[in-house]
Amino acid sequence: MPPKRKNEIAISVEDVGMEVDVVSDSGSEDEARRRAKNRRVKPQRKAKRVSSDEEDEEDEAPRKRGRKKKAKPRDSDEDDEEDKRTKEESDEESEEDRGKTKKRGADEESLSEGEMAALKEQVEEKKKLIATLRNKPWRMKRRLVLLKEAQEFVETFEGALGKGKGRKLYAYKVMMAKKVIKFKRDFENFKTACIPWERKIKEVESHFGSSVASYFIFLRWMYGLNMVLFGLMFGLVVLPEILMGLPYGSIPRKTVPREEQDTAMDFSVLNDFGGYCKYSFLFYGYFNNERRIGLLQFRLPLSYLLVGVGIFGYSLMVVIRTMARNSNEGGDGAEEGEFTFSWKMFTSWDYLIGNPETADNKYASITTSFKESIVDEQENQKDENIHLRRFLRVLANFLITCSLGGSGYLIYFVVKRSQDFAKMEKENLSWLEKNEVEVVMSLLGLVCPPLFETIAELENYHPRIALKWQLGRIFALFLGNLYTFLFALFDEVNEKLETEKSIRNATIWALEQYYANYSSHFNTTDVPPPNVQPADVIRGPCWENAVGIGFVKLIVSDMQVTYLTILVGDFLRAVIVRFLNYCWCWDLEAGFPSYGEFDISGNVLGLIFNQGMIWMGAFYAPGLVGLNVLRLLSSMYYQCWAVMCCNVPHERVFKASRSNNFYMGLLLLVLFLSLLPVVYTIMTLSPSFDCGPFSGQEKMYDVVMETIEQDLPSFIANIFTYATNPGLIMPAVLLMVLALYYLNAVSKGYQQANIDLKRKMKMVSMSVLLHVPSFSNISRVQDQTNDCAVYSWTL
């Protein structure tokens, strides 16, 4: 993944391609530690962080910065001015520090305790300078000179520190630390080189701008997430079953039943994931319920359950971590309209653009955006007929709710019909009837969003607000469809559970009959198990397989529809526009169809919902995650090609600001929503009696209870009993609620303090200006302003 961990890299990598020194005092004595503690206490007084919060996090002892050696040559006046202007704080600090070091003296040769400590401090200063050199706005030449001097200093005197106190060991440690740092640096380089598709994304970025490229970066991130999930599922569940479990055909659940065997290899059956597909490791039903298998005594059922839950846990952790990282970089958000024109002027040009056509487009869009803002400014917003506007908005919302309800009902109806079809003979059904559910769901996903957009024209909102409404409605549509599908599926599951009961009773009865006959016929009690071929055993309906197959079919058809849409909607359209233009009455390229633009929000939502379906289905179809990895891989190449070949850059560019976290928030919501059905089925429904790793148990989580009782030492079982006591859980929940409330209150307090301080700063700067009008040099007033700001902060 693109390493945006600039924090860590700035701290740990001091190497700028030359020999490196250690950051931490590997041979630190107590004195240095004490001194370091004192040093850390001191700077807390100086809380004047004007705009350098990030660098605070990066530096380890953030307050001491860039203290220069006294005899260092100054390069040029220009650099001095640069330094002074941007680092006035460090100037003040360095003045103070210079005073202090004069007191401590600069004797570097003697080895008395005090001077040793002073020397050590100087060495540490140099190391800190090396660490933060990257962030300083100095000329490269100056930085290199400083770096060389600092490194020489540390080199010379670090050895001196080790004199008489295990010098060899110290030198050895230093050398090892150097090697470790070099190794880490090389490893970082290697990791960066391994990031896939960087060149492809760069090409898309330079042609279409950063917003379209953000979709591909999101796709790449998803791919990474799915790779990890695939590794977990495959390595811990599928591989053990394949390698150490029983082979195909040995037990009933792993064999195709006799009735289905002659059609098992047919393409139409395989396409529906029946036949050999259904009785393979792709689905839940294949896994055996033996408690331990193979040489390593691997506990497969336990592993299956834990991996199923662990997939959610890992995804949750990754999504939240990414959200936190994104929000840290977002800056302290100012309100929407605070700096409209300034931001338009200074941040609208996308430096990534490297293509003349895109640049032309960008110029045009910037001009349009300026003109729009100017018009907005100048216009007197008369609210013509607010009642009409309200009525229209209510009408639009009503229409959209109706269509959402309609689509939900349609899906329910179609799923019910498919259950009826399943009871009929397969040959009598047309392809359409067999795949009705998936086709309907995909069509709805295609048709409804443009419908919503057209209805939304009634509402007359600002484009950014209209986009948010649109995204919300599409989200509601997908959610509604998915949950309707789930409910219909649950009906099916319940039906299957009923039939299962009857089949199970029948099987038990048949077995008893067999025992009774055998013992009465041969007059023994030692009855060998019935010799029935695995293919002939009566099978239960295995509802988990049905659920798994339902999800897999849905995802496959969704993928097919997406690819087909791109092919027809983008590629075919582009071909027609391009070649029919020669013999058409109006200009196709500029006029009606023209080339398509890349629909960022639609594609991102599609990706998010696909991931939601994967999360839901992964427990019942372990092969689904692998399928998704393939899908994302092919999608990346396919869509990159389609974008470069058939799309044009957007005409109208308004940024959905901070949209990165918006999509992550949606992903988080989808994660929770897809967790619910899986957890519900694990907790309440009983597993099938003859298929899957939990067959024969009352509830799926019984496997965990069994393991705790039998395999772990007894006191752990006691701990769990105490922990699940309601008397303990209630106070824990209460405590968490209180903690939430407290953190919320604290954060509100901080926000208020922030606003107050900002106001104070403005007031102080104004007051200074009013009280010292005689200063003609404005820059000196600015220095004063900053000083005043410093003092007011510390008061």
């Binding site: 202007r85 970025e205 110029y363």
Partner: protein, 138 residues
Amino acid sequence: MGNKQTIFTAQQLDAYQDNPFRQRIAEVFSEDGEGNMTLDDFLDMFSVLSEMAPRDLKAYYAFKIYDFNNDDFICKTDLEKTLNKLTRNELTEDEVRMVCEKVIDEADLDNDGRLSLEDFQHMIVRAPDFLSTFHIRI
């Protein structure tokens, strides 16, 4: 560009450089202020424009780029030049004037009629897409 050329005409180069601030970038990062860069300056430029550079560093250099007359303030003439470069002179005089006034209104904190580095930094670190647009991927 078919055969190997070593000297490019201004026209040819123009077609390949789309950034409106290309001249300013070269001037800011060059040693002599004329646009001629050594390797160190070149490295400097790409390090500032990379993904890893901290926000404050980028803001500092962005300020220098937009300061056309190098007087350490972004005054009205600088703003007008920036705007004309951004829109390729498509806006009218009135519109340009209006936009520049609005910018000074919004961002000038110490009310001296021009943007100092602090004003600029204060305004730009809050921009949500400053980091993503002031960035070159190699």
